[in-house]
């Protein structure tokens, strides 16, 4: 579980995060949604320790990340997996070497054991035949799956995903969503996903936080999002006619 309390972050005069408090639960896919510029990426980077913050605290299972010693921070980072928006695979390494990378950095496994572990997770993301390919030879969907494999190879306790569906076709996007959801439940990971994708919200949103202008404007589940009358949320989530109709249909069915 990750607990964020009263988080404030500014860049110069610009106050980006204005006192956000939120709990991200273990074994659940926790979503952060909001318009571009609402502070989602900054919030995620604060969670990851890539940005310092002025006020508030971030606790990973009761431990305040910022107060940890460098050695403990390193241990904590070994428990974190991250899927970047653009996958961020290392160009010069093969897919298998990319997946083995966190094991090389954080474990003392032999090369054969690392390779074995990498191939298990590649199989888990249905990429068992692609291990010798270079990232440039893989499609966008494959690259995302490799990024997920790399993120989970060291059995992380926390998984962060920044726009995991961006640039993917709807079918592949659903595959990626379901994969993250299954992995989260299977390994009891605390997963935090930054997304714009309303399909993801409806499909895998166990716990959703809506950010607007650096403030937490709403919190709920994928079921709550159909029933909410919070105008800020409905204006964003149901901005397309299709989703408006879906919502009306769901509400009519539930009456």
């Amino acid at each position: 579980m990750i607990e964020v309390k009263n988080l404030h972050k500014s860049f110069g005069e610009a106050h980006i995060l204005k006192g956000i408090s939120q709990t991200f639960y273990q074994g659940k896919t926790n979503l952060i949604i909001g318009q571009s510029g609402s502070g989602k990426s900054v919030f995620l980077k604060c969670l990851l320790g890539l940005y310092d913050y002025e006020e508030g605290s971030i606790e990973y299972d009761g431990e305040v990340f910022a107060n940890l010693s460098e050695a403990k921070k390193r241990d904590m980072r070994a428990k974190i997996g991250m899927v970047f928006q653009g996958s961020a695979l290392f160009d010069s390494l093969t897919i298998e070497e990319n997946v083995m990378f966190p094991l090389r950095m954080f474990t003392k496994l032999t090369k054969n054991d690392m390779r074995e572990r990498a191939n298990i997770v590649l199989k888990r993301v249905n990429l068992e035949d692609a291990h010798k390919k270079m990232p440039s030879e893989a499609s966008g969907g494959m690259q995302k799956r490799v990024a997920i494999a790399r993120a989970i190879v060291n059995n992380p306790k926390y998984l962060f995903c920044d726009e995991p569906n961006s640039g993917l076709d709807p079918k592949t996007a659903i595959v990626i969503d379901n994969l993250i959801h299954e992995i989260t439940e299977e390994y009891k990971i605390t997963t935090v996903i930054n997304t714009h994708d309303m399909n993801s919200v409806m499909e895998i949103g166990d716990n959703i936080m809506f950010l607007k202008d650096g403030i937490k404007a709403w919190e709920g589940t994928k079921d709550d999002i159909f029933r909410t009358d919070n105008k800020v949320v409905t204006d964003f989530v149901y901005s397309s006619n299709l989703f408006k109709k879906v919502r009306e249909a769901v509400l009519k069915e539930n009456k």
């Binding site: 990851l48 890539l50 390193r74 970047f84 653009g86 290392f90 160009d91 010069s92």
Partner: protein, 219 residues
């Protein structure tokens, strides 16, 4: 780390040998031809051609001008490879894993560039060989005259001077392009701009260091 160092030695040193050999050989020939054509006074001994070729190549062409060429080849490669890693969030990925990204990316390049004097030695050797070939086949002087000139008034400290400069240039070639790549912001277009800027500043640094080193070591 060992693998990264070996890969950088391959990319930065071994990968540069072909172009260095080609340029050094032909520029050595040109230096010889230019010297020979500008000495048409029968009172000036033909050995001067070999002497002038040696001095030009050893003191300036191989260490300094080859380094400026390398600022274009090696420097641009370093900036664009690190810059692309910045743009595609690969550096963020390293940081999230708790890896010191500067150490991970720049240190192997610094170690690899410690082998740069090897490249310059080859440039010196092939420059002189190119000069000898041009001299013989152009009929500007005999082989004996050229070799006698090469050996005339040889000051071993000039070798030290050339390699002191080379080590300083190697440091510049590894660090300035790495800085421009690592701290770049933006997208693909900015990677190109960062490579160009890095080439300009690396060249400026090489020229200034060359001036200062010459002033301090030879004057």
């Amino acid at each position: 780390m060992k693998e990264l160092i070996l890969k950088d030695i391959d990319d930065l040193i071994i990968g540069s040998l072909g172009i260095v050999a080609f340029i050094a050989f032909f520029v050595g020939g040109v230096v010889t031809i230019q010297t020979a054509l500008n000495i048409d006074n029968p009172l000036i001994p033909k050995e001067l051609i070999g002497f002038a070729t040696r001095q030009s190549i050893l003191l300036e062409f191989a260490p300094t001008f080859m380094s400026i060429i390398m600022a274009g080849k090696v420097g641009s490669f370093i900036t664009s490879s690190i810059g692309t890693m910045r743009v595609t969030e690969q550096i963020d990925a390293l940081e999230v894993m708790g890896i010191n990204s500067i150490n991970y990316l720049v240190f192997p390049k610094l170690i690899a560039m410690a082998f740069y004097p090897f490249v310059i030695s080859i440039a010196m050797f092939l420059g002189v060989i190119g000069g000898l070939m041009a001299c013989i086949y152009g009929g500007y002087a005999s082989t004996d005259d050229f070799i006698t000139g090469l050996q005339q008034e040889f000051n071993p400290f000039h070798i030290s001077y050339a390699f002191i400069k080379t080590f300083l240039f190697a440091f510049v070639l590894a660090t300035i392009p790495s800085y421009h790549g690592y701290y770049m912001k933006g997208g693909a277009l900015e990677v190109g701009e960062a490579s160009t800027t890095s080439f300009v500043w690396t060249s400026v640094a090489i020229i200034i260091i060359n001036y200062l080193a010459t002033q301090l070591l030879l004057s």
